[in-house]
């Protein structure tokens, strides 16, 4: 009896604290959304106005009139490209790491772990020179090429742990039933690990979606640029145009937010089994 009341108190306290934390942590983003619906007069009002008095769509209209759609589409192209290439390059080594033993296996695994520790900024100049040399500077495919050294290693780490979690006996059964290795992989392994693969793919997509430094420096034509570059234009040294900046930010954050929330189950388990088991 005493034990169960104690547990109840613990639970209630947990809920109260979680609600408090939710309010504190969500506040910055809620504030951004509220600000995006205020007129400039209300944004720069003193004392501060918390709820917009008459909600305005002027900043959203402004953003739309600046061809936000083109930046959005560019971001989708770069994101999907990064996702496809990371998965294509990453899926086979991940499978090999999980199933076979071969020469240089541990060295290659270490390389995978080390590669995700390189800060992006240090490769910016060599990357620029390299893309210029192979004539891919200021192209989407060039930017995708610049992203995959950073997304593929983490893809391999996650996928390897997904493949490890599939019992070997499943494949062996398929092999005995007369499937060859490719068929066994396609029919047995792939369906089981598909949610995990999708989650990793989305991770690579969102990496490209939110990346600022490379996209800003490697894409110079306006018609090719991505959302983060679009947003950075509103941040001035002396004056920042908060209204359109925040309206654009809401547009930019909604897709990853929705996808993350829908796939959160796979993310949390996948991300963690990948990183914790290493």
């Amino acid at each position: 009896m005493r034990r169960s009341t104690k547990k109840k108190i613990m639970k209630t306290v947990s809920y109260i604290m979680l609600i408090f934390m939710s309010v504190v942590i969500a506040f910055p983003f809620v504030w951004l959304v509220l600000t995006s619906f205020k007129t400039y007069q209300q944004i720069y009002s003193y004392p501060i106005i918390y709820l917009p008095k008459n909600w305005t769509l002027e900043h959203y209209q402004k953003v739309s009139s600046l061809d936000f759609k083109s930046y959005f589409l560019n971001s989708v192209v770069v994101g999907v490209g990064t996702m496809i290439f990371s998965l294509l390059i990453g899926i086979f080594p991940a499978y090999a790491f999980s199933r076979y033993s071969f020469r240089f296996k541990s060295e290659l695994l270490v390389s995978v772990l080390i590669f995700q520790m390189f800060p992006m900024v240090v490769f910016l100049v060599p990357m620029f020179k390299f893309l210029d040399w192979i004539k891919l500077l200021d192209t989407h495919i060039g930017l995708i090429l610049a992203y995959i050294p950073f997304t593929t290693p983490i893809t391999i780490v996650f996928l390897r742990s997904f493949f490890l979690s599939v019992p070997k006996s499943l494949e062996e059964a398929a092999l005995i039933d007369g499937c060859n290795r490719t068929k066994a992989f396609l029919r047995v392994i792939l369906p089981v690990t598909l949610p995990g693969i999708a989650a990793v793919g989305v991770y690579a997509f969102l990496f490209a979606w939110s990346e600022l430094l490379y996209s800003m420096s490697l894409l110079t034509s306006k018609k090719l640029q991505t959302i983060p570059t679009f947003l950075s234009v509103f941040v001035g040294q002396y004056q920042t145009r908060w209204g359109p900046l925040f309206a654009g930010s809401v547009f930019a954050t909604l897709p990853p937010l929705v996808v993350f929330i829908l796939l959160q189950r796979y993310f949390i388990s996948g991300l963690v089994s990948g990183a914790v088991k290493e």
């Binding site: 942590i25 910055p28 918390y50 100049v125 995959i148 983060p228 954050t253 949390i268 963690v272 990183a275």
Partner: protein
């Protein structure tokens, strides 16, 4: 033998594209760091770094930035993970709001959002602090080096704690329930159970998370870039923002390459120390 052939064929694209690419970039960086502008061999770039006051300042700032951010992220992540594993109903909602929302926010969006909240005149943070009595007067958050550093660290804790939170959730879920029951029978209260069961059981996850958080924080760049640009008066200049400034503002590519290589050495030393400790613990 046949298996090895299949495996090597599967790994080949990774080796040919990613490994070759990264090695090429690394070599290019090393060559640049030992070159003059005309391409002659020199140690001058490294000498220039080690006689540069901003370099020492940036190393010092990086230490504070990493210590503050990592301590905050680990503690907040642990607290959230403990709370979230206590409850059953509302998991999806709380996870979405507390863990997913900051994670899904784009780096640049997080930067401008906090910059606006820190605004000394129209910022909502000052208004709230004064209203609840935590501050007497409006604070000029981004105007002095010390406050600016505090401000970017707070923003970074918000942006990054969700990762350690997720690691800890998974870690806590793997702790066998019997350990808690046994401790409870022995008369351990919740506080004792936390220190004697949760923390020791969580230690491997804790160490891994610590390593990743430290390295990611050293490398993390967009937030400072958007909020302060490294200022005021180099107050938030970390090694990575300095590399950025050297190469893209001052166009001193070779000096930037030298600093990049120094940063590699620092990062890999940290990674080596952690993995050696982990290997030792596994062996023991």
């Amino acid at each position: 033998m046949k298996e090895e052939k299949i495996a090597l064929r599967m790994v080949m694209p990774y080796v040919l594209i990613i490994v070759a690419f990264v090695v090429l970039l690394l070599i290019s960086n090393i060559v640049m760091s030992f070159s003059t502008i005309d391409g002659k061999f020199t140690f001058e770039n490294y000498k220039a770094i080690f006689t540069d006051n901003v370099f020492y300042k940036s190393v010092f700032n990086t230490c504070i930035w990493v210590f503050g951010s990592v301590a905050g992220q680990i503690l907040l992540g642990l607290l959230i993970a403990l709370l979230l594993t206590q409850i059953k109903r509302g998991q999806v909602f709380f996870r979405s709001v507390i863990l997913i929302l900051p994670w899904a926010t784009l780096d640049i969006v997080a930067g401008v959002m906090w910059k606006w909240m820190y605004n000394d005149m129209y910022g909502v943070l000052n208004d709230i602090l004064v209203k609840i009595g935590l501050a007497k007067d409006y604070i000029a958050w981004l105007a002095t080096p010390k406050m600016a550093m505090l401000a970017v660290i707070i923003a970074n804790i918000w942006k990054g704690f969700c990762l350690s939170g997720m690691f800890f959730i998974a870690g806590i879920q793997t702790i066998p329930q019997e350990l808690y029951e046994a401790a409870e029978i022995d008369g351990a209260n919740a506080y004792r159970r936390f220190w004697n069961v949760t923390i020791p059981q969580l230690k491997p996850v804790l160490i891994t998370t610590l390593m990743f958080t430290i390295i990611w924080t050293i490398n993390y760049f967009p937030l400072i870039y958007v909020m302060t640009g490294g200022g005021p008066n180099y107050g938030t200049e970390t090694i990575v923002t300095y590399i950025y400034r050297l190469s893209l503002r001052f166009l001193e590519y070779n000096k930037a390459a030298a600093l990049s290589n120094i940063l590699f050495v620092i990062v890999f030393t940290i990674a080596y120390l952690f993995t050696r400790r982990m290997a030792k613990e596994v062996a023991a």
